[in-house]
Symmetry: D2
Subunit: 118 residues, 4 copies
């Protein structure tokens, strides 16, 4: 069992113990994921990019960021479990595609978006 599978199993039990499965439709879980992502974003909104790179050295801000990352991960794993999607596999599949789209020589040092793959 991978660490993600262990987390997904714990989340399943947590929801079952509270009869929360009816709330945990993919639609609702996607909303909860986006809500938590918004809270994570709020931790960074007034920081300069440079300040954001050292946010973990501030004990209070660092603890908040870690907690928000935990919340985002929780809902992402729960949503993927509900949809029976392997998150790591899905990410690798997208990276395979990005490697084809973004040739290192053409896209070195630029944030320009590549055209979609044919």
């Amino acid at each position: 069992m991978t660490p993600i599978e262990g987390l997904a199993a714990r989340l399943r039990e947590f929801a079952a113990a509270r009869d929360w499965e009816p709330f945990h439709t993919p639609k609702n879980l996607a909303m909860a994921l986006a809500g938590e992502t918004g809270e994570l974003l709020a931790e960074f909104q007034w920081l300069t990019p440079e300040e954001s790179a050292t946010v973990m050295t501030d004990p209070e801000a660092g603890a908040r960021v870690r907690a928000e990352l935990g919340d985002v991960m929780t809902y992402l794993v729960r949503l993927a479990d509900a949809l029976d999607v392997d998150l790591v596999e899905a990410a690798h599949a997208k990276l395979d595609e990005s490697e084809r789209r973004y040739d290192p020589r053409t896209y070195r040092g630029t944030a320009r978006k590549a055209p979609p793959l044919p």
Copy 2:
């Protein structure tokens, strides 16, 4: 090496090969994560909760949802790597807290929010 660590390592190489590290500040990665979460959300916005539960049975919508989950996972893992946060550990820590906040008897079958822990 866990699957997440393997994914993080591949993302580090992917960014390095394109000189994209300057773009990958935590602030920017949090924005990219939120942008991808918005695309995932869009897949569910007009579905009923019931339809959302069977979205993976539609080959086209299912493929889009899987791809968006892959994008969200990609930026979440890249962001956590930049901040040196263990996502699974952070999620378990938040669940420890939720287990204290949400007593199963008091919160059975209700989506009511618990007061913050003292």
Copy 3:
């Protein structure tokens, strides 16, 4: 002066009185807007679509939704002011486009997405 222009003017004074203009770059304001949108979303995440339609009849939930809509509007107007974009005009321009893309007969009662305009 339209009501939006009045609001934008008040926001400009509010920021100036606190020397907050350096924080109010379009990038940061877009993040703040997304953070507030996430809080608005959280009000609806566990509601059924039917419950969401009557949320304003609950005094507490209704007050929270109104406050979150106020926050979203505040940052949207502040962002548009920083970019010198007329929000109502921009919305009408997108609607002109949607009227061309979504022929009423073809798209009656379906949430199917239209192909992009040529």
Copy 4:
């Protein structure tokens, strides 16, 4: 009729002409709003704060930002109309509160968050 009321009226007709009202529950509209906010965010994610301040001088990026602002405004106005909330009034009410929370002398030049009002 204010410009926002005019836009809300046009949106009502647009939805009615396509029998789209059943899709336009507050829950779904909040999701669509968040999805569009995510697209707006994506326009700024790799820009420095300084670059974001001049984004409208680039014809292509400027046109995309304007279009995304139009989309966000469209769903915000449609959502507020569905909930019968006056957006400008709601924003002014939140600003009244922020003026009490954020004393200009105490919060000059700092992005520190004020404690909630008692």
